[in-house]
Symmetry: C2
């Protein structure tokens, strides 16, 4: 085995990895020269893929670059069952068309990280739509209630007195059975999926397959520095976000996340990251400069070198020179083309929660207290896509970055 391949395998096995099950086994598989099948499954939702997802997908990319087959599984069957909040009513089911649409959006974004033409895309309705109740019961009979309820998610819900739908106990089994059908050699997952994919190992053994190995990636912390990055918490950096917005958001993360982001979200060699860490530790490197480098690196991955450079220049000229604080995104307002009524500057101020009413907002504009990227504006100003990423100042201390959501 040549040195380059050896290094690449080493990178797969170590960089950013939270845990591997079973490491020796996985190493042998990777060194065998065999083309491996790498499963990764998602339920069809409407995500803005963000850097948290990318941590996993970039690991998949490393494996794809080694010539392995990425099998991207869309849970169009499993995605049909929601949380049984209202027990007496049957819940809505997504239509197949809807799922395909959701999948298309998903795959479109995924193409920013993986070579999508080489990915095998599958839907688990392919086997579950044909599965009999009997087969399902036979699978279930291999598992005990106690084992299923050990899952941390269930434990937490139980502690809170929340209900667990009986069908929900079957999810880990279905997710595990996916590995059987897809003949998964390896699966790459976020750490919240460990329990489910371990069931996959068990079912594969029952079905006389070699069990998949698990590469478990950590869940990264969001821009707030507190919670894990998530769409619903609004503390995320989307991989399709515009360069200026992406750059600005990265600049807003707390300093203690810089090294973590370098390791998980960039390709900067580990030696260099180590140097940066040491430089910051002994105060030879200003964390702000390290962050600018981090932001430029990440924007480069999703938008290319040219746009990354421009985003950096824009950030420096706007924020550094005009003394706008870096942490503006804390007041970001999501924005869509569809919300016509807010495209006017006055509506936007109200939607951002910076004025009580449209008349209050108009008054503020007329008093000359509202500026966009340092320039005073008038109340008839209409916001356009060109304003994306700009920072609006209202009064003395309220800033808000304008973000268009695609």
């Amino acid at each position: 085995m040549n040195k380059d391949l050896e290094n690449k395998i080493e990178k797969v096995l170590t960089r950013g990895v939270a845990k591997i099950i079973k490491k020796d086994n996985l190493k042998k598989k990777l060194e065998s020269g065999k083309i491996l099948r790498i499963k990764h499954g998602v339920d069809p939702t409407t995500p803005d893929l963000h850097l948290g997802y990318a941590v996993v997908y970039r690991k998949l990319k490393q494996l794809q670059d080694l010539g392995h087959k990425i099998v991207f599984l869309i849970g169009d069957f499993t995605g049909r069952f929601g949380d049984p909040t209202d027990k007496e009513e049957s819940r809505e089911m997504r239509s197949k068309d809807e799922v395909k649409k959701l999948a298309k959006n998903y795959i479109g974004q995924l193409g920013k990280i993986l070579d999508i033409d080489k990915v095998e895309i599958r839907y688990n309705g392919e086997w579950y739509d044909k599965m009999s109740a009997e087969k399902l019961l036979r699978l279930m009979s291999k598992f005990t209630v106690r084992r299923m309820l050990e899952r941390d998610m269930f434990q937490e819900r139980d502690k809170k007195g929340l209900e667990i739908g009986l069908h929900e106990t079957v999810y880990p089994i279905l997710q595990g059975y996916d590995s059987v059908v897809l003949e998964s050699d390896i699966t790459v997952i976020g750490s919240d999926q460990e329990f489910n994919e371990l069931q996959g190992r068990k079912i594969q053994k029952i079905e006389k397959q070699k069990p998949q190995d698990l590469i478990i990636m950590p869940l990264i912390t969001g821009t707030d520095g507190k919670e894990k990055m998530s769409q619903s918490l609004g503390n995320y950096i989307g991989i399709t976000e515009e360069p200026n917005s992406m750059f600005g958001k990265i600049m807003s993360i707390p300093d203690n996340l810089i090294i973590n982001y370098f390791e998980l979200c960039t390709d900067i060699p580990m030696d260099e990251i180590k140097e940066t860490k040491e430089g910051m530790d002994n105060e030879k490197i200003n964390p702000r400069d390290a962050k600018i480098k981090l932001a430029e690196e990440i924007v480069k991955i999703y938008h290319g070198e040219e746009k990354a450079r421009k985003a950096k220049e824009y950030f420096i000229s706007t924020f550094s020179e005009k003394k706008i604080p870096d942490d503006v995104p804390k007041q970001v307002v999501e924005w869509t083309d569809a919300l016509d009524s807010y495209q006017n500057i006055v509506g936007f101020i109200v939607s951002a929660g910076l004025a009580k009413s449209k008349s209050d907002a108009r008054r503020k504009v007329e008093q000359g207290g509202v500026s966009i990227d340092g320039e005073k504006t008038v109340w008839s100003r209409i916001l356009t896509k060109e304003d994306d990423g700009k920072v609006k100042k209202i009064g003395k201390k309220d800033f808000v970055r304008i973000v268009f959501k695609d």
Copy 2:
């Protein structure tokens, strides 16, 4: 409504009944004149139907006599899944032929109580063999783990640290869904089935059916006076047992069960039972006489008047006159034609645990200490079917009744 019908309905609603859900509703149904569908389900096993089963079947018979449709459900699908003791191994499945054979045996015995030609016999494989995994998951999604684990059987197992197979949590749902398919108006069950059939009410409501009412019958105590009557505990009186054996076993029950057996296992009017109770309470009736009447009544139900009379005569001449204690069945040895080696009297004595070895048994016989129904026997004596129900005396105090098991 005529008085006779009114009385019959009253009998259905009260005699021997442990609990009714919902009584008012059930009464209205019975008075409506509509032909009702009465579900009763069993899993295919190899039972000797005994008086414990008969408590339920005799209630079904009362309903059949009122013109209602008894729907006898054989769980050929549900019966395929056993207790998941060995979690890694797939368990044996009964073949359809085997199930049909078991069912035939079951139905044959049932014919001793119900007018079997009028019974609608169904197998739940009819719908579950066609059911999809998705439909099953949708049914499951109506229930929570917590609710299912409330079932007393599960609670007990959990306390003992025993495992519950995940598929077992689905049984109550399947049993409930049977009621939907069969459009059950009423189900008659033993008290251990209450939880499962209550799920049936719930699913019927979800499926926009009127929920079935439950007639819940008590589990009767076996001949040992301690445990509930059960085949595995050997404390049962089979409804196909030979008259002499049946009579003798009934004579062996403790006195405190006499009234309970009268109510649950005979058609003696309640007034008369009350009189017997009072008679025993104030010592005007000898419990042994009450028991002889009970035994004759029960044997009459399963074998007719003539055989019941003969069994009574046999009992009195053998036991009363020869001073053989009534409670001989405590040492009953089960006996089959297949066990050739025990058909010799010597082998039988060993199998009954009354001698340490065949030579010990032979010595006892040669010493003249072994008698059958009061007559001394020789060691070369071969037991035949004609000995069924006879009592063998060994030494001064060891009695054993010879029972052939068919």
